[in-house]
Amino acid sequence: MDLVNLTVNGQKIAVPRGTMAIEAVKAAGFDVAHFCYHPKLKPVGMCRMCLAEVGTPRLGPDRKPVLNEDGTPQIGMMPQPQATCTLPVSEGMVILTNTDAVKKMVAGMVEFFLANHPLDCPVCDKGGECPLQDQTMAFGPGQSRVGEVFGGDVRLQQGIWEAKRHWEKPKPLSELIALDRERCIQCGRCVRFTQEISLDNALTFIYRGAQSEIDTLTDPPVDSKFSGNTIDICPVGALTSRVFRFTARVWEVKPTHTVCTQCGCGCNITINTRLDKVLRILPRDNDRINECWICDRGRFNSQFINSAARLTKPLIKRNGTFEAVEWDEALAFVAKTLTQIKDAHGGNAIGGLASGKCTVEDNYVFQKLLREVLGSDNVDYRPHGKIKHRLRRVPDFYEQVENADVILLVGADPLEELPILDLRIKKCIAQRNGTLITVNPRRILLDQHATISLVHQPHTATAVITALSAAVNGSTIEGLGATGVAEDLLKDAAQRLAQSQRLVVLYGEESNDELVAALHHLAASRDRQEAVFGLCRHDGNALGALWAGAMPKNGGLDVDGMMRAAAHGSLKALYIMGQNPVNSYPDGQLVKEALDKVEFLVVHDLFLTETAQHADVVLPAASYAEKDGTVLNVAGVAQRLKQALPPVGESSEDWKIITALAYFMGHHWGYKSCADILRELERHHAGTSARWNVGTLERWNVETCQPADTEAETYPFILLTGAQLYDGSVSLRHSERLSHLVEAPFVELHRDDAQRLGIARGAEVEVTSPRGALRLRAKVGRKVLPGTVFVPEHQPGAPVNTILDPTRQVQRVRLSAGRGDG
């Protein structure tokens, strides 16, 4: 590496060329006062706090350093103090940060900052972890020469020396964030975060000079899935969390270092609790995964953990109503009933749905219960059978994404599915000059930053990729017509793919084998096949559940098979851990039939979900904050969950419940902790490794993905479904603040279609399929293609699975304008 030698306060140090002086000073072990500088943001030199005296070697006319008599180079000090955050180091530089002059200048800057800063620390949420407070203590002058004169509207030309700025406070900036304009020191970190990192430009400075303030003009306000990060990086108490405000002083909380499981990113987090209540969730730095960010769902979806609606006792349904019972009674009852069913119909009359929401240990013990105790091979962790996960460990997954020169994204919307991956892709684009090529049946928000978006007709992704491969290889492009993708756009994409050195291919979890094979073929044709990654969106630990063996083997039924068998009557008992298939299973009709028909249904969950309501026994489970365990993220990286608070009420970790149940059935496993389970699992896996093999590509015919379309006249629209970060999932319903941000159920359609059908923006539309109808609010735009509509999965109160018919490959619907309201 190209190193530069310099001296900081007399200490010699070498740092990589291009390093800013502030980092060099820090590396030498000295503190630098700073507000606007943040290592993840571009330096702007706005606050002038990081001042130092700086000198560089004097050069003679021959461009050689001028030497002192003792042979040391002569240093020419710069006439003014320098902002170290915007000053790149150079060879021989001398930086002084602890001279009297520097101390006086920094103290003067602090005094300026405090000229307009209210004396709020005793009532400010940031107090105790506030850089302004800390730096005032460390570098401030102790006393201010600026007096405060009350009264007077600052907007009306009062000099700053006459009055502090006074504003109404706090101003709710969004559902999640409160802004105190008096405390803002205008460092711009929050604004720059939305411009450089989240790229959603949710915040801006408005007005100017002494009247500047932070504001937003998005709808909803601060329309960003990452807004909470601005609270963390705000160096004062100007931005505070409306979930956390005034619930505790920060030095009273207990931090627990754990991992978020709300999606597959695997962000490292710290849960702050006090008196066994979760108060807030903060990101924990891990440059290999989430850097120092997390998404708003991970941060603010915390209130459900201590919600009053949590199940705290086992429930048994008697005469149609649930009765709270003791654990012994519940477990004995479950053990007895399952044994009876096993004896009468054999183990394979029992099925188990594990869950990617639970830990590796939970899933391992779950499948062990099914296989060893109940003698059944019917076990599946997936919400439905179309999902395909492949286990691969890629510790540098996020780095590969960040450093890619071309990212090909197929059939996925990372912002809604894997938000932190979305941030990394944006980093690749904005900071590493990467190229993003998307292939989706509709536009996603990330397309704003994509170089090329290939929006194709539904169910033709494979044809698009095959055509791309052909274009990369220089052979003739075929079958593009049906996809609706323009040839010149495709060729442009192919050219970029062909030239790329560091290609990363990301595809959605519902991609079928043909598509995946086509992607591998495409990547292989330019020899970077190892950079093809499947994403998992549904659950945070999906790969962990797969690793734990919660999948059917030896001819056992998968989730689809179990649903059908249950509806048919051949599956007598269903044991569901942490899933809510009534909402999440694509065939809403089938799942209802199945759950009604099945003789015995056991459900583990935090809440009395739609599924749990059908159950005969409901066992109260612990949330991710209440347990230890292991989880695998989207890149197969294993991380530890740590218990932040004991399970509420009498609820319990899933693995403990199952271990106890096994004991009731005569199997003494003797696990004392997760570590015991993990050790057993690792022994199990010793010497094996699951890998996805690249097959040879067969010619894939576009026609075969176009099913016979006899219904196109009655149901002229193709229905697309997909994920939404703030969906109708049960935990969000019980996290009050965040639940305000869950959108009212909507259908998205193209402008032209809307115009033709006379459907106005926001009007009510009836979406009808052969299976049923939903009344939804119309979102009109250009994100979907004409002829297709998009309805997100699990919308609160309007589950799209009630109108889906998964036996058909293409879902068709018709739209009719309902009552309009705008």
Binding site: T204, I206, L217, T218
Partner: protein, 170 residues
């Protein structure tokens, strides 16, 4: 209310003149301000953002940064009266007092205080109009008037009162 098709068309034309659409923000805001009767409600900023395909927050920041975009309803004609040094020395203060008395307004920078009861004029104090050679001076709508006296001001304003507003010179 929302932008007319004509105004949208105009904004598109302006945007086409620049290599990056974001560069058209200021001229596009002038078009919108004219459409909305001389001021910019937030809807107008959002519409401009949509037309230019730029973040609404960016437009918000620009529109609030510049004082010639008005964020509250203004009178039919906006009078910018220079109250900076050269003009003050040449009698701007008398003009200011005269207008305050004549219209029963306050020329203090607040749009509400500076607008006449009948809504014909909004008078705002401004720093140097860069026409110190003709001090004291003012701008009405888009037109400069120099070497003012009380009589001259009265005459100009009486004339303009009945004329249509000129929002910007193309």
């Amino acid at each position: 209310m929302s932008l007319s098709d004509e105004a949208r068309q105009k904004i598109q034309e302006i945007a086409a003149r620049y290599p990056r659409r974001i560069s058209a923000t200021i001229p596009a805001l002038y078009v919108a301000q004219a459409e909305y009767g001389g001021w910019l409600p937030k809807e107008a900023m959002v519409e401009v953002a949509e037309e230019l395909d730029v973040p609404p927050s960016h437009v918000f920041g620009v529109a609030t940064f510049y004082t010639l975009f008005y964020k509250e309803p203004v009178g039919k004609h906006v009078v910018q009266l220079c109250t900076n040094l050269a003009c003050m020395l040449c009698g701007a203060e008398t003009l200011q007092q005269h207008l305050e008395r004549k219209f029963n307004i306050k020329i203090n920078g607040s749009i509400r205080d500076g607008t006449t009861a009948d809504g014909t004029f909004t008078v705002l104090p401004v720093e140097c109009l860069a026409a110190c050679g003709g001090a004291p001076c003012m701008i009405v709508d888009t037109e400069y008037y120099e070497n003012l006296t009380i009589e001259k001001v009265d005459k100009i304003l009486t004339q303009i009162a009945t004329q249509p507003t000129v929002f910007f010179k193309p």
